[in-house]
Subunit: 333 residues, 3 copies
């Protein structure tokens, strides 16, 4: 199996996770470790006491430069179920406007002995930049940056696929919709390729495909029927209305007519195909209600698995760093 | 005593509390259980460590579709004193505007393994609707919906009355002010009748009385002096300025002249009458400062009891569900 | 040493801390106790589990009448590391606009069995007023009021100075910048004088000096070079742009030219002089980047020490009150 080159920003010297920024350079073993660790957390949500003490006494700061109540909630819940102390900072509303630079703000938060920043940012690459300049003491988790990556969303999707399909070998996965503006799609294509899916497809009008799509490792389809044929997994993307300039798309109803998922269109997919969506869904735009509420849809299970996957990523970054520190101490003696 | 018909939305098969939505269909035994349970929590606020572990590891989500810092604070405090993890979602500011339906949003939060939603909503009946459509796994507490109900406020008022008067038999209770817009008044009238108060009075100008007032089980007075005569308990309502169209009332000072509580007017009440108010008070509108700060007023004790009553409602809903689940498991074996 | 007259608002009968409002009337022994207690908390931030159980089961309410994400965050973190339950109330956005008076709102929060209010207010003296009228059950911590005081900031600065200089005897400390609008400067001048610094200097243009500067116990310099000469500690103040009317100052670049800290200007200070700043810094206005990022700067250490100092103030107020209550109980027996 070909391993990507070592990624010192995301991995410790001994190859354990230390930050979680993007999926593309991570080895398959790390992705599998995240999925296996998440599996051990899924039942925490079913317990009477939904808490494990793994991050007790740790300080997790949710740094949201772009507001997202839903994503913030999932990370807050994951951190609390790991027994961490959580602080929410809504930066758009806070004092960054007071003339302070981003790096000065981060240095300040680091100086408060924070252990982890969960960062959401509107600019592609902003979380990477933060990780490159942050103190080594603080773990950085990417909660979505611009059009670049949304790696925890991709990993919860991988968890869902593995849960329902048993693995990735031989799978045909179709990602349908606004690929151009979707950080989720980019992260998913990387993850599916690393985990060994047979065929990763993107299905979209040319105007909603990124220029570099051919280098991403996905097969391009512009007709929905072609893209769905024999697919084992269908992932509908949210139509990011707020990000699209009007010119790219005639209208929502036109989109639904051409790319919206209906039972009729899904008839060409594999009979056991599952339908996924990162949420929140636009009913009647990218997905018909009959599909969203039908037996193929596993959308709400994605949400449940999402808490467990975020708990896994958080705890793996912390334990990777712990091991690294212990090794450094041992070497110093 | 006539028992209302069984209420499967609020009660388990064995008659324990599972949701707390409205007082009108609840049996007297449940209301008394809430009051008795609250009594056991009142002293938690006096302890050095103000916490009991009853909801440890449970996830409580405050879903506020209508902003109310004060009510949200009392529920957040009650949940934390029960050791729950609390998430605040201010929906007005969040992503419901992104085109997601209410039910899709709820399904998502349910999928995060939430245990309880505390819901405040501007529309009458909205909390009922949510309880009807929510998964059975999640307990729903009504924190005020439109003009319909505010049952925890009513129960803390019942607690206060029982604390000062020893019980309800033989009591004359006068509710004074804007009955029309008050969810508190409706819930109080139900609670007082179920608990066996001798006479429930409402005192208001005709324009501030609801059309169905005769069917609610209260005696109507339009002159304050008549309504207060021999009353053991006087409950002033907040004048909901923001809800009143100008036409209903000449002016605030006119309201105070006719319905504002003063020591002089309270002279016709029972010498030991207590004066209550749900807060926040409008001094010089529905209540004079001499009354609000005087010996009859028990307004701040209502606040203290309110934390205990909310702890009681939350813990009873959780234990009712626990018992229900255990019974279901036992039956399945 | 002359002791200030006993301060019953801040001290218990036996001279222990009960509120923390302003530094000017406190005895040196209390300031030293705060610094010593903070020293015991500094290493909590380095531990794997950053928590001590001193305020377990206590309710701390952050009452911010003036928004300040940064200061609120430091107090929230300090309270959580002491294991307290924390509620944030952003009063500007909350229901005080509903016609409720400040005192009614406070009485309500007190009635919820709160143990501590951390108060930030835009008006000088507002926190003092609150402490004078609050129930004796609640400890009040001043998190900054108008131009009056910011005592926890001053104490973290004292901690930083003692950490780097070993003590205060013989020290020359220069406070540079907008003295007029700075609550930090007033609190620092008091603290430095009480702790026995040799010389406290303020360095500012006449237009940014308060009228009562001569009575505060600081030596006034209007030329930066004179004020920095032989200084052991240099504290740059933030230029409070949002508080200054345009007339007081020609421009930011003019301010930097005359009062901005550069390496060249600091050459006249003591070779081991440290440079401090309460943050957030305005690079190129009150401080050059070469200084802020250089070896003299201890600005981020101030932040780290700030958490420990706030933990110290919070826990001392709570234990002072505990002792007071026990003494009262013993006397009542």
């Amino acid at each position: 199996m070909s391993q990507p080159s070592p990624d010192t920003l995301q991995l410790t010297g001994s190859g354990r996770l230390r930050n979680f920024l993007t999926i593309d350079a991570l080895p398959r073993s790390i992705l599998e470790e995240i999925l296996d660790t998440a599996a051990s957390f899924v039942d925490v949500g079913d317990r009477s006491i939904k808490k494990v003490p793994l991050l007790r006494g740790k300080t997790v700061i949710n740094l949201f430069f772009e507001p997202s109540t839903r994503t913030r909630t999932t990370f807050e819940l994951a951190a609390k179920r790991l027994s961490a102390d959580v602080l929410n900072m809504d930066i758009a509303r806070s004092s960054t406007s007071k003339g302070e630079t981003l790096m000065d703000m981060l240095r300040n938060l680091e100086a408060m002995s924070a252990d982890m920043f969960v960062v959401r940012h509107g600019d592609s690459g902003a979380v990477d930049y933060i990780a490159r300049h942050a103190t080594p003491e603080v773990a950085i988790i990417n909660a979505g940056d611009g059009r670049h990556a949304h790696p925890t969303q991709a990993m919860l999707d991988m968890y869902t696929i593995r849960h329902y399909k048993g693995g990735f070998a031989g799978l045909k996965v179709a990602i349908v919709g606004d690929i151009l503006h979707s950080r989720v799609a980019r992260s998913e294509i990387h993850a599916l390729n690393i985990l060994g899916a047979e065929e990763v497809r993107v299905v979209a009008p040319r105007t909603l495909l990124p220029a570099d799509i051919d280098s991403l490792g996905a097969k391009v389809f512009t007709r929905l029927e072609d893209g769905l044929r024999d697919a084992d997994v269908v992932i509908a993307l949210r139509l990011q209305k707020e990000r699209m300039s009007a010119a790219l798309l005639p209208s929502e109803s036109e989109f639904f007519r051409l790319y919206g998922l209906t039972n009729e269109r899904l008839a060409v997919a594999h009979p056991d195909a599952i339908v996924m969506h990162p949420g929140p869904i636009n009913r009647g735009v990218e997905i018909a209600s009959e599909v969203a509420d039908g037996p193929r849809a596993v959308i709400l299970h994605q949400v449940t698995f999402g808490i467990a996957v975020r708990m896994a990523v958080m705890s793996l970054c912390m334990s990777g760093r712990e091991t690294e520190r212990e090794a450094a101490h041992a070497a110093a003696r």
